[in-house]
């Protein structure tokens, strides 16, 4: 039937749009600038490719099935055929896919966790409706909606919230983690290049949620040290909102 051809064409079309459109953008997870985001990008393309193959196979199979006269296959023989299909496709395929997925996914996830690292820089981030208060505890520096970090250095963001639940996310560096009142979550991120990255709140937190963004500037270690020295002496440089 013509109907089915056009739908297959549509899927190819949609898939190619993905390849054609640029993957860059200040919030793009597909334009990674840190190890965590890089791993997720690899995972994504692998899973996407695998899914395309699996779904196309299924669709072609289904299309064949719709256009085939199965005759009067006796129920018993049909059951027997199905048994093979179930073991191979229904149980085998998902099991293998899952094993593969987890074989890569679990170590990747593990590497993103904030393991002990003497070089890690600690930054405390407190979310408010609707801004981010950023503290460098050792230097006593406090910023709003602005973060400065050294490049190529693991950073531990200690996240909490003063009011509702927010979620701290810098897509080009890695995954998000919620800022929750009453507890502190630690998110490990690292920037591999000197650049200014954009971050946003990902958990709906009230009417100005869409504007609860921040900038994260990755600078060289020397610049960072200098910045700390310059700003650490004076109590606080940035204008602090009073809530």
């Amino acid at each position: 039937m013509r109907l089915y051809d056009s739908s297959l064409a549509k899927i190819f079309c949609a898939a190619s749009i993905l390849l054609l459109t640029g993957c860059s953008g200040p919030f793009s997870t597909l334009d990674p600038a840190g190890p965590s985001a890089q791993m997720v990008k690899v995972l994504w393309y692998a899973m996407f490719g695998f899914s395309v193959v699996v779904s196309l196979l299924l669709f072609v199979w289904w299309w064949r099935a719709m256009h085939r006269d199965g005759g009067d296959e006796p129920q018993e023989r049909a059951q027997n055929t199905l048994k093979h299909w179930v073991w191979l496709g229904g149980i085998g395929l998902p099991t293998i896919s899952m094993t593969l997925l987890l074989a890569f996914g679990i170590p990747f996830g593990h590497r993103m966790l904030p393991h002990d690292d003497p070089n890690a820089v600690r930054i405390e981030v407190t979310a408010h409706q609707w801004f981010w208060r950023v503290k460098y505890p050792e230097q006593g520096i406090e910023l709003i909606d602005d973060i400065v970090i050294p490049v190529n250095t693991p950073i531990d963001f200690h996240l909490t919230s003063e009011d509702v639940i927010h979620s701290f996310w810098v897509p080009r560096l890695g995954g998000k983690l919620d800022a929750i009142p009453g507890r502190t979550n630690v998110l490990r991120l690292q920037a591999d290049e000197i650049d200014t990255f954009r971050g946003t709140c990902a958990e709906y937190c009230g009417t100005a949620h869409a504007f609860m963004q921040f900038e994260l500037r990755a600078v060289s270690m020397e610049d960072f040290q200098q910045w700390l020295a310059e700003n650490g002496a004076t109590e606080s440089t940035a204008e602090v909102h009073d809530d």
């Binding site: 899914s51 899952m98 979620s167 009453g182 937190c205």
Partner: protein, 831 residues
């Protein structure tokens, strides 16, 4: 009696009252239709909200919809689609279809069907009214605390959600209980479990999932409303609560709910494919196994909605694997469908077009689901448009497409007319293309970093073109859905008349007439096959001719065959109620409670509670040998005894299934208690229990004595000994009252700091739960004593006290369990 005469007399007993009397209808065909029509209307309302959302997001930096309205829109869109469309419309389909598929004339508890419908309707109207007043809930359809709590949502929006949804959920619980009991106990004689149409297995699983899945949300909603209205700090850190508890309770419900929606939809697919492949489904047992597996797994994966909350890594890995496991039963079903097509002779028509669309869209959604189950990937795309895309693929693909396939398939059964192929095709292709355009793009928008629930975005982030395409696709889809609706509406007038069994289907619903008669089957056949109409096409006429069982109608009762769970052997005849105003009145009482809680006018809420209780108890009065139900007549059927004359019947089963749900509610409370104790950052527990132990143990002793004697009394009753029955039941009722009074005294006297301590607030809720159970049990026991006096219960009618027994057993169980876990455990373990 000629068959025409028989049919006339059946209709007299089974038809609804005319005019306004339709409001008293309890018949499953009427109620099922009402559910579906109401659900469709809510679907359109939800759709309009989606259109507004897509209009706002079509271009960057738009301000067509301001932020506060936008937040109401996305909250209400999700709420309406989930709670007022998806679940109720599928319940409606199940309520409509199940008796017809299993060869019964109605569901086991017709008045409960009606109550469920009214609770759904009134609850839905209450929730929608908030939008009309511009004060709709606006913290997202999963209402995360503390955003939804009194401090950050001071308006009544959250209250509308919590009270309205809880009200609506009564209908889901009602459907869950009655569908379970009906499928297990009212199948046509001979229909063993393994001869049930595959549809029934799915619905059985769905119904049981409702029974276990909804209570956590009901508890969560009650707790959150108590926090908002009375300041009890269950979810507030400072008072010793924890906002994450809400997320656990919500998703404990929320994930099973996804499968509660998917299973009935898959049931439609499994029903349609064999009919249009002209062969029995291949792998019936595999499918049954998959359905059961899905139901089980779905209760163990709720945390995958919470991977970014900061839960320990090992737990995340566990829930990640569990989530992926769902792929196995789903894949098994897909291959069973595929095999049935492969080895059959498929034919094309409208229902199959939607089945085809289902496969493509659902498989895509399933694959992104597996991706999302992978924790590191989830951390990136959680709460972005990627998730929005995924959930719409699974819900539209996995629920709306099969639903429309099912509607087209059963349209001749509903109306006796056939739909138009041409209009229907246009409808499908526009919907299919529009839907994929809208949501495929959203995967990309999400990967490019667009969070969900933002009301606008700046230009130049790479999101502009994709959003515009999504919006255009959304409008194409709307057009498609519009054509489908037009097709369905027009067919009632212009559709060509359907022949009996137009698709040559195998199941009994096609033998109920097109459109069906109010009593479904003039006579109930014995079913010895999984495909009754294929194996014996003469059933199409012989049923209507009254050649099979249960044809005695001179007594004027509505009756069902009551069969054994496994074997389908005829055991009893269930007499069921005729039309009744009590469900409408009871739900009006409950609506009054709901509205007065909303406006915080508590005296009126108490009036509403009392009214609802009176109506409900009055309703329960019309049972057994009551003149309005099944008094002794000269025309008793000789095929089997009436259930109220035996020790077993639908009510007993209904009681047990209800108690399972009740138990799930209690377990949720226990979970909340332990969770707060272990996890809440500022939890504090006093060194000694605030409850008076002497009073507590007095109450326990009274209850234990009561329940032991109740059991002894039932033993005698079952043996046919009714001496002193009235007096004994009366005495036990009084003991129940005294026990309840002790509990009330205990609660009133306890120095509980309800607003300052989550610990005390949970204790209070636990006590209220116990008081409710004991109090209701006492009232019902006293009523039983009265019924013995009036002759509705006695030697010949021993049934009702037996139904009440599990209630008392349960009450005793939760009492001591509460003493152990809320009082003794903290004493042993200390704080």
């Amino acid at each position: 009696m000629t068959s025409a005469e028989l049919q006339r007399r059946m209709a007299e007993v089974w038809d609804n009252l005319p005019g306004w009397g339709q409001l008293a209808a309890v018949n499953h065909t009427s109620i099922g239709r009402r559910f579906m029509v109401t659900g469709a209307i809510f679907f359109l309302i939800g759709g309009v909200m989606a259109m507004l959302i897509r209009t706002q997001l079509a271009l960057p930096n738009q301000d067509i919809v301001p932020a506060d309205v936008y937040s109401q829109l996305f909250t209400m869109h999700g709420t309406v689609m989930m709670f007022l469309f998806a679940i109720p419309i599928l319940e409606g389909l199940a309520i409509y279809m199940i008796p017809k598929l299993i060869g019964a004339r109605d569901l086991a508890f017709p008045r409960i069907s009606s109550l469920g419908y009214y609770c759904y309707l009134f609850g839905g109207i209450i929730i929608m009214s908030s939008l009309f007043f511009g004060i709709a809930p606006d913290s997202g359809w999963f209402m995360y605390t503390p955003l939804s709590s009194a401090e950050f949502s001071p308006g009544p929006g959250s209250d509308f959600w919590l009270l309205g949804i809880t009200f609506v959920e009564i209908s889901a619980m009602a459907a869950g209980v009655e569908l379970t009991v009906s499928i297990l106990r009212t199948r046509a004689p001979g229909m063993t479990l393994s001869k049930m149409p595959i549809f029934c297995w799915y619905i059985l699983a769905m119904a049981l999932m409702i029974v276990f899945g909804f209570p956590p949300l009901i508890l969560g909603s009650v707790l959150l409303e108590l926090e908002r209205a009375a300041g009890m700090p269950f979810f507030e850190v400072a008072g010793g609560g924890d906002p994450i508890l809400w997320q656990h309770l919500f998703w404990l419900f929320g994930h099973p709910e996804v499968y509660i929606i998917f299973l009935p939809a898959a049931a439609v697919i499994s029903t349609i494919i064999p009919v249009f492949s002209k062969r029995p489904i291949i792998g019936y047992k595999w499918i049954v196994l998959s359905v059961i597996l899905t139901a089980f797994i779905s209760f163990g994966i709720w945390v995958h909605h919470m991977f970014t909350v900061g839960i320990p890594a090992l737990a995340q890995a566990f829930f990640s694997v569990a989530t992926m496991l769902v792929a196995i039963p789903t894949a098994i079903q897909i291959f069973a469908w595929l095999a049935t097509l492969w080895m059959g002779r498929p034919s094309y028509n409208l229902p199959m077009l939607w089945v085809f669309g289902f496969l493509i869209v659902f498989v895509c959604g399933g694959l992104t689901g597996v991706m999302l189950a992978l924790v590191p990937f989830n951390w990136q795309v959680h709460d972005t448009h990627f998730v929005v895309a995924h959930l719409h693929y699974v819900l539209i693909g996995g629920m709306v497409y099969p639903l429309i396939a099912g509607i087209y398939y059963w349209l001749p059964q509903f109306s006796g007319r056939m739909p138009s192929l041409r209009l229907g095709r246009w409808g499908f292709w526009l919907t299919f293309i529009g839907m994929n355009t809208t949501f495929f793009m959203m995967h990309l928008t999400g990967l490019l970093g667009m969070p969900r629930r933002v009301f606008t975005y700046e230009s130049g982030l790479g999101w502009d073109g994709l959003n515009l395409l999504s919006s255009v696709g959304g409008f194409i889809m709307t057009l498609g859905i519009g054509l489908v609706l037009l097709d369905i509406l027009l067919h009632f007038k212009f559709g060509k008349k359907a022949e009996p069994n137009p698709w040559q289907a195998d199941t009994l619903e096609w033998a109920t007439g097109t459109p069906p008669v109010s009593y479904n089957f003039t006579s109930i056949p014995t079913v010895n096959s999984r495909h009754p109409l294929w194996d014996d096409p003469s059933l199409l006429t012989s049923i209507g001719d009254g050649e099979h069982g249960l044809t005695e109608i001179r007594h004027g009762r509505r009756e069902l065959f009551g069969t054994e769970v496994m074997s389908g052997k005829l055991k009893a005849i269930f007499h069921i109620p005729t039309h009744s105003w009590w469900p409408l009145l009871s739900s009006l009482g409950l609506a009054l409670v709901c509205v007065s809680l909303l406006v915080r006018f508590y005296p009126l809420a108490i009036v509403g509670c009392v009214l609802a209780a009176i109506f409900l108890l009055r309703w329960s009065w019309e049972n057994g040998a009551h003149p309005a139900m099944a008094p002794p007549t000269d025309y008793d059927d000789n095929e089997a005894p009436l259930h109220s004359r035996t020790h077993d019947g639908p009510g007993l089963w209904g009681m047990i299934i209800t108690l399972l749900a009740d138990g799930a509610l209690y377990m949720s409370l226990l979970f909340g208690w332990l969770y707060l104790w272990m996890v809440a950052p500022e939890w504090s527990m006093p060194d000694t229990s605030p409850l008076s132990l002497p009073l507590l143990f007095t109450a326990g002793a009274l209850l234990t004595i009561l329940v032991v004697f109740y059991h002894l009394q039932i033993k005698q009753l079952k043996a046919g000994n009714v001496r002193g029955l009235e007096r004994n039941l009366g005495l036990l009722g009084i003991v129940g009252v005294v026990h309840t009074a002790v509990l009330v005294t205990l609660t009133a006297g306890a120095p509980l700091d309800l607003q300052g301590s989550a610990h005390d607030a949970v204790i209070f809720v636990m006590l209220a739960y116990l008081i409710f159970h004991s109090g209701l049990g006492a009232i019902l026991t006293v009523m039983q004593a009265l019924r013995v006096r009036l002759g509705y219960v006695g030697k010949q009618f021993p049934y009702e006290p037996i139904v009440l027994r599990p209630w008392w057993t349960y009450t005793l169980g939760v009492f001591w369990c509460s003493v152990a876990s809320f009082v003794l455990l903290p004493m042993v373990w200390g704080s």
